[in-house]
Symmetry: C2
Subunit: 343 residues, 2 copies
């Protein structure tokens, strides 16, 4: 499986020996690992093999760049039932290859085994290029909170798929032919629009802003993370690690037109679509946006959206009740999002 | 799962952030990954959770040292069904921790998820300490072939377990209480001996000669690999990569007394036990011994057993029929081992 991947300058020794050798010019290696299990982290009915390949790489390299590092190498463990179509494995491999090209890393090794459960294990490596890793514990009172990348689109895409399956038994944008392995993104039934397609695509193939991770490190970010569980929840990790609190300004969140369209389709009442979309931006995970904290006087490029400020750590009472991230000074539960109650 | 592991000097940033940061003082990182799937790579009936933890680490760090590198960091993906006893996960973790201590590496990150199939994904990292990686393609005519570590014991242990299960439905050395998670090694029914216990233990917890990998690199090894599929089969990789052939001298293989005892129990006839044991040494995998090729004038420490020589590459005919590794100048099939026909 690993022989067909292109090499980069970081690959000193590629697949085929006991182990690979990857450049670590900085003298340190950033490393992270994730498991993706069919039925829990992806569904073959909802995502093509190529999508799963893209996503497996994206969520790992997003963690690498969230440390301020540059992606270098990737290792893939692939456990598959014998009846898995060869075409699925080939399309998965193509997705991995293409996402690695987007992120700038290379596949350096892997292991392919049999299993009753289709399972993908990814380990991603990165190089800090001489910078300090941007951890979660460096945020200071007076810093500003910003994000870059998409927020809420993936969650909207997932909600559309769930709604569609519940209604008709066939997911939105997924023809039965698409299930065999070809990329279904863009195959929409009559009536689906570009906005919905974009939300579905972000769910199936998130597009982390890879270059923005090292950029934030160069700009002096004091803390950074990959938004995988939802912005409010993930910024809670920064607050706890840094001993601070964060207040977000809801008016600073400008929903993408695709997201507004999705929340309308999902049933947000007229006049409440912006509110509903903002709640998805606060709570929706898996877009793999980057959230970072910067000193107040840093001039940020415009793709970094400033959405909040860092304040003093709350008292013990606030700490215990988990209210370190507020929106407009108000406590929000689960980022305010409940996809069964959109109104 | 990863918070309880001790740190080493190689751990710059441990578990808990988006990614770990591991020292790579050499400017390169050695990296390898393996998946272990229950029912295919281990059985909970045959190995304790602690054994599985030991083995998962051992087989990955064996690959790292087989490049001539020093183990540094390890990442663990752990996919488990919800009904897995917590005690199993805790014992597995203890096995990982203890084997890391033996190898000299540290656990730096991980991911724990749910799955219907208990699956363990390990990625191991290492540092070359300024040496060139010892690849498979450097063997030259006139070099000598040597190994260090155990050969054949793990295969004998597996054969004993299979024989025992076929005979009685209960594996050798495994009480029913042991299956819940406690280490069963050493729990033998009346009549089992130290030799059999050692073979079972090597199957459950292989003991790779970690220090010998960097040692071989310092001694000038021209090729090296971890013996995981059997010596003859694995040396075939060296032959193909290096464009050479290897002849092994069967008389140079001195079977361990434990191995001789096991082959007697497995049915080798009187007077043929040494032959049978040697066949297991040639074909048995999973002990994770190291096999290396050295220039002829290198003085090897006595734990390196010289067992063969490197010759010129064979002609096209020999290459196509896969006979690059011979024993006493004779072609052997599957290393000469067939555990259904020991006599």
């Amino acid at each position: 499986m690993t022989s067909q991947f292109p090499r980069t300058d970081d690959v000193i020794l590629g697949p085929g020996d006991d182990a690979a050798v990857v450049a670590a010019p900085d003298g340190r290696t950033v490393a992270t690992t994730d498991l993706l299990v069919e039925g829990r982290h992806f569904k073959r009915e909802w995502s093509s093999a190529r999508d799963v390949g893209h996503r497996a790489v994206a969520q790992n390299y997003a963690d690498v760049v969230a440390m301020g590092a540059r992606p270098t190498g990737l290792l893939i463990g692939f456990a598959a039932p014998p009846e898995l179509p060869l075409a699925w494995a080939e399309e998965f491999t193509a997705g991995v290859r293409d996402e690695c090209a987007l992120a700038g890393g290379a596949v350096v090794g892997g292991d392919t085994v049999g299993s009753d459960t289709l399972t993908i294990a990814i380990t991603a490596l990165g190089d800090l290029e001489g910078r300090s890793p941007v951890r979660r514990d460096g945020a200071r009172t007076g810093d500003v909170v910003a994000y870059t990348g998409h927020l809420g689109l993936s969650a909207a895409g997932l909600a559309l798929l769930e709604r569609s399956e519940a209604a008709a038994g066939t997911p939105v944008g997924q023809s039965s032919a698409g299930r065999a392995g070809a990329a279904p993104v863009g195959e929409f039934p009559v009536g689906a629009t570009d906005g919905l397609a974009q939300c579905l695509s972000e769910h199936r193939r998130p597009s982390p802003p890879y270059a923005a991770g090292p950029e934030a490190a160069r700009l002096g970010a004091t803390a950074m993370l990959d938004v995988s569980d939802g912005l409010v929840q993930d910024l809670g990790h920064v607050c706890r690690a840094s001993g601070v609190c964060i207040d977000l300004d809801s008016n600073a969140f400008r929903p993408d037109p695709a997201l507004l369209e999705a929340v309308r389709v999902l049933g947000a009442p007229e006049g409440k679509t912006v509110d509903a979309a903002r709640r998805l931006m606060l709570s929706g995970g898996e877009d793999h946006a980057l959230a970072a904290v910067f000193p107040p006087r840093v001039r940020l490029p415009e793709h970094w959206h400033v959405v909040g400020t860092v304040g003093d750590a709350p008292g013990a009472e606030a700490e215990s009740s988990g209210t370190r991230v507020t929106v407009d000074q108000n406590v929000v539960e689960n980022g305010g999002w409940d996809h069964f109650r959109l109104d």
